[in-house]
């Protein structure tokens, strides 16, 4: 019984932390107080739930408890003539107008998490602070865990969070979902942060348990965004993309942690349920007929995921999708991926022409995947000496040990 209750509290922590913090911030405008009161509410749950039972709606119980605690503390502070003005904010007259995401959910409470995520991802905050603040306030990951995931000392991360919260307060960054004229840009920025979180844990060979947690939290955030922004198919597209990538995670590295290329992955280790869910989310998004870069990238991932064997991959379709992506979000990395797809669809010579054009343009100088791709295409064309030179170039640039081992193996095979 006690263990079951502990589990219920732990589950509520990962599911409800963001909502509890968001509700108290909206009520008081005080980010530190919100975190402290959320913490208190969970501690109280550990005391009370074993005795009284787990409430029917743990999120509502925790939010109400945290809000009452905040009220208490501000009243007491006001009585001491300290935070008078903060307390005055507790009685602000009419509440702010309803916004998307404010509809009461099945707990009967408005959901302030959308406000919270747009505020954390405000462009007046530096990007690393946006990332850290989103994780800290929305997912309840601790400062120490976030610091480990991003490989910075804990006090650096703590300072980053404190500075961001201070700037929100002192510079008057509003706690709200942006108005319609700002919304498209700001939504794009929020989705980019969530994708960045996902990739922090997804880099081949770089992922330890802390990074894996960040990746899992990114998927949780994408689910939340897709649910809170039903009119934005790109939010669902991002969720689908992340689900489809994550479904292949187990097959991406071998027992030594070495990178296994897509064509050589053991497809029986792919997570079929994840692929099915990602595909279903993508189909529902595409049905809205407002495609965007995340939906197209998810469609590419779905093409790969649906192929039973590497040889069964629909490369002409993937090459078309990359052309579409290059039109929507032009950039040299997309062009490089298109070169790979074209090589598979129309032969290595056609792909090499695109890759050589990129090398000549010089935009990807220093990016190891350009020489790695050229090396692979040259190898398939039987131009071994040029392939070896390109492998060596890639080897010198590759950022992770797993990638260096992979490239060194390919280079050795040539000889």
């Amino acid at each position: 019984m006690r263990d079951a209750v502990k589990e219920a509290v732990a589950a509520a922590w990962s599911r409800e932390w963001g909502r509890v913090v968001a509700a108290v911030i909206r009520q008081t405008g005080d980010w530190d107080l919100a975190e402290e009161c959320a913490q208190d509410a969970f501690e109280r749950a550990l005391e009370r739930w074993p005795r009284d039972g787990v409430p029917r709606s743990p999120g509502a119980w925790l939010t109400t408890t945290a809000r009452n605690r905040a009220l208490d503390r501000l009243r007491r502070a006001a009585n001491e003539n300290v935070k008078l003005r903060t307390a005055a904010r507790l009685d602000p007259g009419p509440p702010p107008a309803d916004q998307p995401g404010d509809r009461p959910d099945d707990d009967g409470l408005p959901d302030d998490r959308l406000r919270l995520i747009y505020t954390c991802c405000h462009p007046a905050l530096p990007l690393p602070a946006q990332v850290a603040l989103t994780l800290r306030t929305l997912t309840g990951l601790g400062t120490a865990e976030i610091a480990r995931a991003f490989l910075v000392p804990e006090n650096t991360m703590a300072q980053r969070l404190t500075r961001a919260k201070n700037k929100i307060r002192n510079a008057g960054i509003p706690f709200r979902v942006p108005p319609p004229d700002l919304l498209p840009d700001r939504t794009e920025a929020v989705l980019a942060i969530v994708y960045l979180l996902f990739n922090a844990g997804y880099a081949p060979g770089a992922a330890g348990p802390d990074q894996r947690r960040v990746t899992a939290e990114a998927i949780r955030l994408a689910r939340l965004l897709a649910a809170l922004l039903p009119g934005e198919p790109e939010a669902a597209g991002l969720l689908a993309l992340m689900l489809l990538h994550d479904a292949r995670a187990a097959a991406r590295t071998d027992a030594d942690g070495d990178l296994v290329p897509l064509a050589e992955q053991d497809r029986s280790r792919w997570d079929r349920r994840g692929i099915a869910e990602g595909t279903a989310v993508l189909d529902a998004a595409l049905a809205r007929r407002r495609p965007g870069p995340y939906q197209v990238q998810a469609a590419i991932a779905a093409c790969h995921a649906q192929a039973e064997k590497a040889e069964a991959t629909d490369w002409p379709q993937i090459a078309l999708l990359y052309a579409e992506l290059a039109r929507m979000a032009p950039g040299p990395v997309v062009e490089l991926n298109r070169a790979v797809a074209v090589a598979m669809a129309d032969g290595p010579a056609a792909g090499l022409a695109l890759a050589d054009a990129l090398a000549a343009a010089g935009e990807l100088a220093g990016y190891h995947l350009l020489p790695a791709t050229r090396a692979d295409l040259l190898r398939r064309l039987g131009r071994d000496a040029e392939a070896a030179a390109a492998y060596r170039e890639a080897l010198a640039l590759a950022p992770t040990e797993a990638e260096r081992r992979f490239l060194a193996g390919r280079l050795a095979d040539l000889r």
Binding site: H122, A171, G172, I173, P174
Partner: protein
């Protein structure tokens, strides 16, 4: 909230490539004053006309020039009162100099 807008150039020689018409802040001043957002402001003479004053041990120490030597130069300032940073950014972005130089948005201490 009150914010100071620092209207700045990126180079010491002002705004090369911009015509006087393109830099004319008068329509912006009128609009923002009418809207009740702009409280005060002015153009400032270049850094070479500045004097920096320090008092140490009761003695006035004067230096010719600005307090910090940078290639970026302050060309003017405005004091605005806005609902929040988003409104302040919107007001700053519409200042004509934002297209050629830059505008720093600095919150005042709350009174």
């Amino acid at each position: 909230m009150k914010y100071l807008l620092l209207i700045c150039s990126e180079t010491a020689d002002g705004f090369p490539g911009a015509t006087p018409e393109e830099l004319d802040a008068e329509p912006w001043v009128q609009e923002m004053t009418r809207r009740g957002v702009r409280l005060d402001g002015n153009r400032t003479r270049p850094a070479e006309d500045a004097t920096t004053v320090r008092v140490r041990n009761g003695a006035r120490l004067l230096t010719d020039g600005p307090y910090a030597e940078t290639k970026e130069q302050m060309a003017g300032f405005d004091i605005i009162e806005c609902a929040d940073l988003d409104e302040a950014i919107e007001v700053a972005a519409r200042h004509p100099v934002a297209k050629f130089g830059m505008v720093e948005v600095r919150p005042f201490w709350a009174d």
